[in-house]
Symmetry: C2
Subunit: 260 residues, 2 copies
């Protein structure tokens, strides 16, 4: 029987190499096997790794494969975009471990390495919209009832959190973002700033700054991160030569609104 | 009059250099001036920078100094720990810009570079507690009424979000964490996992995994990030040799609880 390998869950950051931490670069350099969603693995330079790319939406089987490889003695990097702990592979890995389907899995040395998450990169790109209390939701109802999503959106609006939405829309979930925006429109100022940040940091990055009233769900796709302001989120004129538009979006540290 | 400089807001990540992005390393290497909280500047190797360290809780004057230096032609890095957009210097900078106290500030080229935030590093260290919908609050009532904090905690508990608390306690704010925990105890299962992650990634890192019932506020200080689970957050046995205890904390991607 071969010696036990290891399993490290890493995040590449949402965009280019300049957001990939030295820690993750080291893990990738010493891994024998890379397991992950194909487009993420494509961002890692060719080397002597064995690559195990897979389709989206098969996170659990990907986690099981990574554990099997580690049991067989391989040094495995399980690869997420962004941060692996935010709607990504780390939870899928622990779900597989909890299932205990193979008792050998429990012996694998596991480590999780943080990364720059898409929400942080999107926020930095447009200013500082997450500068005050905020919440983070996946809009996917594949793994939770849609009623839970709606309830959380209502409570988040009542709390006047800035709201970051992951997985806003896909071909299989075409109406959820529109329904979420309708719910928020019934509770929040129509002039609330909304940011649609698609593929932040990538060559095909596309950032739209709009309002809750004007936000068109068709502008978003599965690579879009949506940020919806609180009552305090505001726009400022932006001077610059980086082609990122003429406004900053930010939320002040102070909260001066009335408490309802 | 000298040529205009520039101002880049950066985050060092919460811990060691292995969490500092290449983008931020480049900014620091080419900056002429570093402005920030003294202990953060101490983490940057000595070089030819001019250093402008300052005490905690003077974010706005720090932002003004950075703008003044940039107007005078310096290439300024305004330094946060963690990510600069999460309860850190980016919002303070935009507050200064919005005040418009010096019209010259509006001409300064500004950029924000994301970093690994303390909550992501703390989460990775203990597993994947942020693997499902969550919210992020500062517990400081320096800049918002305490009633707003309490209201948000109640709504976050009702939404069954995982909760990340920044700035949980300080010498000037000794009772707030205890009051916040009492509020959450009145609404949540006493067995809910709680993580107190102090100085994550630093030489004096100290991580406590406990429950809502047993959590002692005196275990936390101003360098502690507090994570409070949802109804779904759970513990798993942890095997490993890294001295980080014998349990993982994680929140599954699926939400299977009843909708109240």
């Amino acid at each position: 029987m071969s010696a036990l390998g290891s399993l490290t869950v890493v995040g590449l950051g949402p965009g280019p190499d300049r957001w990939l931490t030295p820690e993750v670069a080291d893990v990738l350099a010493s891994a024998t096997d890379l397991v992950g969603y194909g487009p993420y693995l494509d961002r890692i330079p060719q080397s002597f790794h064995r690559r195990h790319g897979s389709d989206n939406r098969v996170e659990l089987s990907r986690a099981r494969l990574a554990l099997d490889l580690a049991v067989s003695g391989r040094k495995v990097a399980l690869v997420s975009g962004g941060d692996p702990g935010v709607f990504a592979m780390a939870s899928a890995l622990f779900e597989a471990l909890e299932s205990g389907d193979d008792p050998a899995w429990a012996e694998v040395p596991v480590r999780v390495c943080p990364g720059v998450s898409a929400m942080l990169a999107a926020a930095a790109r447009v200013g500082a919209p997450l500068g005050h209390d905020f919440c983070v939701l996946s809009l996917s109802d594949n793994l939770k009832p849609w009623e839970v999503v709606l309830k959380r959106l209502r409570l988040a609006a009542e709390a006047d959190f800035v709201i970051a939405l992951y997985n806003p829309i896909s071909k299989a979930r075409p109406w959820q973002l529109g329904a979420a925006l309708d719910t928020l429109r019934s509770m929040k100022d129509p002039a609330t700033p909304v940011v649609l940040a698609r593929a932040v940091g990538r060559h095909d990055e596309d950032i739209t700054i709009t309002t809750l009233a004007d936000c068109d769900p068709a502008t978003a796709d599965m690579r879009t991160l949506v940020l919806i302001g609180s009552s305090q989120t505001r726009l400022l004129p932006r001077k610059g030569t980086d082609g990122l538009g003429d406004v900053w979006v930010y939320t002040p540290r102070s909260y001066t609104a009335e408490v309802p």
